[in-house]
Assembly symmetry: D2
């Protein structure tokens, strides 16, 4: 279906929903989905609204301009997306490939609405997988000495390929702030713990050492501070004293891929909004 | 807070949301919550919208009339509720009292916005509990011979007390169709299985015999067909070969009270809509 | 590690555990894992015990005979397995391949201790997948007219390949009783509902129609009665009125593959015992 | 049923299970439950074994002595419990009483095998509840200045009442190390987060601020370091951007009481063993 989607946030006040829905109605649009949220602590209004473009009176390329005066009057932050402009994803991975595999299979089944032109890794293992799915593969090994230079090459490549979203599918390198700041709210990571517990290295070992009875996985937008960005999705599974470190890793795998997949899908469907280092997810 | 809430369903068409939100905006109402859903199979539109009555231009007693012409133009089924008209609940129970206790405690803590004037049972056990919470208790023992007569007494009492919602907190008697039809979508039951599995008597024994690895609880609106009404909420818990029938009952108790409580709260907050023997829950 | 595992069931009586553990100790075996269960309703004793064969005084090929007199004295049903005798699996599938893919990937990662020489389908789609994992593929299309003949060919092939376990990874054909009875407790199916709810065809459509708030998946040993065999593992996920039939299928996929995978792994690790159409799972 | 239960830990070596089960068998005991675990990292063996005392050849008061030479030969840490020696519990609480209420109701239903002679609080609110369940209530308000003195009074009272287990049912005061060290592995706390996330004060506010999508509750044995003791049980529930701080508290309540209840029950049933600041739970 050919639709437009608006993601909006602004100070809450009377009449916002009436004005937005009138804009769509009077131009002959048919609302497919609408969801809103008011954060009462900060008095902030959030909305996601999607409507069919068939018979809509305004040409696609003019909708933004037509909407802008209304947007200004409410002091909105807003973004307009079109279902026919398919986002382009790059996946970063390392040696552990179950999350990569899952994204590729879900994409192949048509569950992720995106183009997938690029896989990047610091290791060579994913090359063969990339090839079997007909996707370009680039290896950028990183050392403290060459990290900045390699990131610059990655940035060039990502821009050349017009990448909209970077997905870190168990990528083991930490990006510099410069890299992260190039793609604000456009890098999604999977961390293999229920954050904020067990941030940083070796979360399953940390979980084992602490003797927790539940382990988890967290997908979040990447910010310069490690494992501290806005959380998009989390899930957990029970463990017991019987589970070894290997068992935790095995049980965690299914969580990681499901949680990452869900976050990427929500992002692609324009269901996520970031504010105050948190997310609104209109699922 | 002093609010009005509209629950609406109608055939989907362009302009519904714009017209409803304009009605509120032009009369100076401030929307607190709005949620909508389109069932694409039946092309049905559902909405829950709640707005502050402070400074609203229409008197409370006139809102319904003012809204009715708009409602007619879209062929709406609609109900209007006011937060200051507190619903009145009657609880039916039998010998097993953990669900009753939980409703009373949650009510005492202020988590259920209702009056609770009445507890009815076919057994005497709940009398003492009712008294300790200062609630009237009535016992109507039932036999096949006296069932209809007893139900008539119950109906009189429920009407006298202006009861809006009947909650069956592990009540073991099955009502006649006549009784059920007096209170359409206004009787909530808790059944101790994940329906449609194990409907009818002794669901934990059925679960034990079948060797399931998960047990559940289901709250639903009561219809004349046993355990077949619209499902409001469900939850489950894992079990294993180690769990005896007694263990299933114990584990199930926590589910039952949580699931029933949630369903009752959603109903009281006007978050449930019934259609096609299913529910929309605007949670 | 080189181990032997005994799975035992017998009428409960004094001294069973002492006698079994003495048998292992006096022959210089070191117990790695032991778990037991007493079903008090039927007074049946179940045990799984695994010990290291290094320095064990009895030759592998003589252990069964040495144990048999003890076994007879307690009237045991027992089976002896050796970790170095790797089971051989055949996977049956149809058009929907996510469960097949997951088994192949988990096997590739070393999480399933088995050989995987054979994939069989009534459709051609899995051929390409089989080839990419270097596994033989056979297509046996079935009609009511040729079903028995095709099953006979399948049985021949399975016996020729010395298959120990048949895994139905979303296989859409129903086997005849003759086929099922050839492989008692050695066929594992995944059904895409929380059985006993929604047995038979199109469980997601049934779930949609009933308006449940939770969907599930169930892996079970196949018996001649459809979807009624001993349950090995189940899991569920929440759904809401917002979820279309397509959403249920998508959400269910992750359940199905995880639940099937777990059941197959438990079977391969000799952790499952069947009795009274139920399972004991020593996980 | 009249049983004895041994909880054992020791360095793993050959013959332990054989020797223990022979001890029971040769003295004519019938094993009801047995569970064991080997921690392969530390090569430690753990066991819980329970047997019927009916017809057992050794008098109850002599079992410990009879077992001790065997125990010494394996260098065991061991404790012997008898089902007929009912443990005595004291509950500490503050203003928030849902956990207290749940323990009292579960005790009343016969689900917690203990005596419950004592409720202690720093606030007066629980007095009325204590009285309605016929339990002694003591109020010990605490300030930094009087804390040590008040704790000494509490210790005297606990010893006088021969208290075996202290349960902190949302008790808001932090104990001194002296107090904690008087009751090693005999104080169970409920913390309203999934530890180690959100230790310390106001975990729901911390969770709200971080924007997590899951909240949890953790029961653990109390050690001198705050919220860092061995974890016995944890559970979680999903939350979203729609949930206010009040919603988190409400949703968390059901978790807290269920998780605390489970931990207390496991302790009373002698199913918990502490090692390395972790627990083995033979559930």
């Amino acid at each position: 279906m050919n639709t437009a989607t608006l993601l909006i946030s602004c100070p809450d006040q009377k009449g916002i929903v009436a004005k937005i829905t009138n804009f769509i109605y009077q131009n002959n649009g048919n609302i497919q989905h609408a969801d809103q949220h008011i954060d009462s602590l900060t008095n902030t209004f959030f909305m996601r609204i999607e409507w069919a473009l068939e018979n809509f009176n305004i040409l696609k390329e003019n909708i933004g301009e037509s909407f802008s005066s209304l947007a200004e009057s409410f002091n909105m932050d807003w973004t307009l997306y079109f279902s026919q402009e398919i986002p382009r994803i790059a996946i970063f991975t390392s040696c552990v490939t179950h999350c990569l595999y899952d994204l590729l299979l879900k994409h192949q089944q048509g569950q992720l609405q995106c183009h997938l032109p690029l896989i990047i890794s610091n290791y060579p293992q994913a090359d063969k997988i990339a090839r079997s799915f007909n996707i370009q593969f680039f290896q950028f090994p990183k050392t403290p000495a060459n990290k900045q230079a390699q990131e610059e090459k990655e940035i060039s490549l990502l821009k050349e390929e017009k990448i909209d979203l970077i997905v870190l599918a168990r990528y083991t390198q930490i990006f510099t702030s410069q890299f992260v700041n190039e793609f604000p709210n456009r890098i999604i990571n999977i961390h293999h713990s229920f954050l904020p517990a067990f941030a940083g290295r070796n979360p399953y070992q940390q979980a084992c050492a602490r003797g927790v009875k539940i382990i988890g996985a967290t997908s979040h937008y990447v910010t310069p501070e490690l494992d501290a960005g806005p959380i998009i999705s989390q899930d957990v599974i029970e463990v017991s004293h019987r589970d070894s470190l290997e068992d935790l890793k095995r049980k965690g795998e299914d969580l990681e891929r499901a949680v990452l997949n869900r976050a990427v899908r929500w992002h692609l469907e324009r269901k996520t909004l970031v504010y105050n280092n948190k997310t609104v997810v209109f699922d």
